[in-house]
Symmetry: C2
Subunit: 405 residues, 2 copies
């Protein structure tokens, strides 16, 4: 029997911290192989990925992951709870023995106890969140405040750390889905998720690495020491092929075009556009000349930057409320982005038992539930120049799963 | 009393043929001033105008027109019948004494007799059109065939000439609307509407002039002899301010982006998208790298190039069937784009009697029926580079009617 540990990742891009986590996950789980569920071209924080999902799949496979599956758009571009729910479902469907996540805490029992504790005090907790939201703060802030207000027992998690929150939702999803997956966690090496500066000699957050990659020529810092050689090579290859990395500013013209083409009523059909924010979006689109300026104009206390960016992704991909209505349910397919030889062996051995259909050739899968992923990939290709756009645009159908011996 | 002659124009760009027609119109009508109804930024043939409606308004005013009114989007980007219906309504509402159009025929009695003759034989004629369409030809072709098949009496129009067809619909609209406008026509000087080559020393079709303007550097032909000096100056000024003239290829990326972002169901909500053409449009968008290639791919016997271009304009401006439902009715406002001193005098004298509200300041007009014009202008601004886009984008609200002493 082959024992698989699951990891839930974005690899934007794959860095030394990820390599460390992956190694630790395999050891902690005593696993024969690692399976990653990875966001596609648009990420949980509502941003286009630096490089395409195919290049990020290569990074993963060449750095120790054996199977890469895509987390469908309708779970990937979502708040932690929905994101976790989708990712855990996929690891469950593909038969993972355990799930190992990085966290600030590093102690799995504190996650289990926190999930249990909040379940017991659910009513009080929910009430408190509602009240906090009414006072005008954002959802994450309300969550954190409510959590602090509960008389906290010993060994409870600190839920104001981003990786603890994600981990909390992973564990909660495992329990709610009555999955047999064993939750495991390893303590993250000292780089905070949002760090913009380099913390140690070899470990840096993906945020700080992206910042360095987008820096002006004069401020250019080498990222070589923070990423495996493979990442470095693939990033250079991406630049050579497509000309630049993807960032929000590359999509600004299309986002703006689309906004100025819509009525407020139509905008309200887009997922997460609520509470009158459509008017704010439309007037800011008219008056902003770049994405950052636009974001500054629409930012309010109630909406986090991340939530607003996710709304922008949904406008860009034209993801409507009706398209996203199944987010409380579970994914309906396993989209295979790549595998190693060992990964292939695992798939061959167990695929008959998978709880969901395995999609390796897109044209062979005829269900509509995958259309948003396809559309997101097409929209993603508009972030680069015309000469190379088409190869990226057509890759979604043409690219078979990446295979590494 | 001031006597006004109406003309229905696009001025894309204003050339010597237009100057001749305008002069002849004023003389024939013995008019004190000329009022033009002009298409906005998108034209009847489903194309973006070479230069903005404001620049075309300046051309008109500096060449003998006294008042320029915008033909609203929902009438301007339409087949001849709807276009004519909208334009005649506006000239009627502003109190024009006569309407003078250029035609291949040049004989107004033949227009009157043809309208009357077709009205008498309406049933037979309509039946014949239906049968021809069923055989798979386009609407204009069916019209022409049906017309030929009627036993034609003397002095009947030749309805396979584009300006005769437009004139026919102007006269028909005047009669149907029971308007007191007197229809007049002047024979066009020898340039055929669709001519791509220069026919005489001073008169050339707008098509051939546009072709010369878009020609490669090596093939550049001077247009100076075919246009008034004012046109030449304004075209140069446009280039200096905005960098280039507008053509479909400038909008291709946005059209393609929008198409790839849509489902077939959503595309079917767009005005004129019918009979399954949505599938053709979507698959051609995926496989074409420029607008011309796209058009070649979607062209069929049943759809004229013009009709397909109009569909593309509606996709670009997001004009839905529900937005365009009032096209059988009449315009509900008079949008003033510019006036001369004499034009101003006319407006001051008669505006209390106009049948529709005169909109000179956009922000003062709160009705929703004008939103499509605003949206079309915003979309139009995406056809030029980022540096100058914003000035064009904001002009719609900021620009007061142009006034020339």
């Amino acid at each position: 029997m082959m024992k698989a540990v699951g990891v839930i990742v974005e690899y934007n891009p794959f860095h030394n911290g990820h390599a460390y986590h992956l190694q630790a996950a395999k050891e902690t789980a005593q696993a024969d192989l690692a399976i990653a569920v990875m966001s596609g071209n648009f990420l949980q924080r509502g941003e286009p990925a630096l490089v395409s999902k195919w290049f990020r799949t290569k990074m993963a496979l060449q750095n120790g992951v054996d199977i890469v599956l895509e987390l469908p758009y309708q779970f990937a571009t979502q708040k932690a709870e929905t994101f976790a729910n989708g990712a855990v479902s996929i690891l469950n469907a593909i038969g993972c023995h355990s799930l190992c996540f990085g966290s600030e805490s590093g102690d799995i029992s504190s996650f289990l106890q926190t999930v249990d504790y909040l379940d017991t005090h659910k009513e009080r907790f929910d009430q408190s969140i509602k009240m906090n939201i009414k006072s005008g703060v954002s959802y994450p802030k309300a969550l954190s405040l409510s959590f602090q207000s509960l008389s906290s027992p010993e060994n409870i998690l600190s839920l104001d750390k981003p990786n603890n929150i994600l981990g909390f939702h992973y564990v909660k999803s495992i329990i709610q889905q009555k999955s047999s997956i064993i939750p495991l966690t390893v303590k993250r090496k000292n780089a905070n998720y949002h760090d913009e500066h380099f913390a140690t000699d070899t470990i840096a957050s993906a945020t700080s690495i992206r910042k360095a990659l987008f820096a002006n020529k004069e401020e250019k810092i080498s990222i070589e020491q923070y990423v495996p050689a493979v990442t470095s090579t693939l990033l250079k290859e991406y630049l050579a092929v497509y000309g630049h990395f993807h960032e929000w500013e590359n999509y600004w013209d299309y986002l703006r075009f689309r906004l100025l083409q819509m009525s407020p009523e139509e905008l309200r059909e887009i997922y997460e556009v609520e509470e009158g924010i459509e008017h704010r979006l439309l007037s800011a689109a008219l008056d902003s000349t770049n994405f950052n300026e636009f974001m500054q104009k629409i930012k309010t206390k109630r909406y986090t930057w991340t939530r607003l960016q996710r709304i922008c992704v949904h406008i860009l991909t034209n993801a409507k409320k009706t398209d996203m209505k199944n987010t409380s349910e579970q994914p309906s397919y396993l989209r295979l982005l790549g595998m190693t030889k060992k990964g292939k062996e695992y798939l061959n051995l167990y695929k008959a038992q998978f709880a969901l259909p395995l999609v390796s050739k897109l044209s062979a899968y005829k269900e509509n539930d995958i259309l948003l992923d396809i559309r997101a990939s097409r929209v993603y290709s508009f972030g680069i120049g015309n000469q190379t756009k088409d190869s990226l645009l057509h890759q979604e159908y043409k690219q078979p799963p990446i295979y590494i011996e």
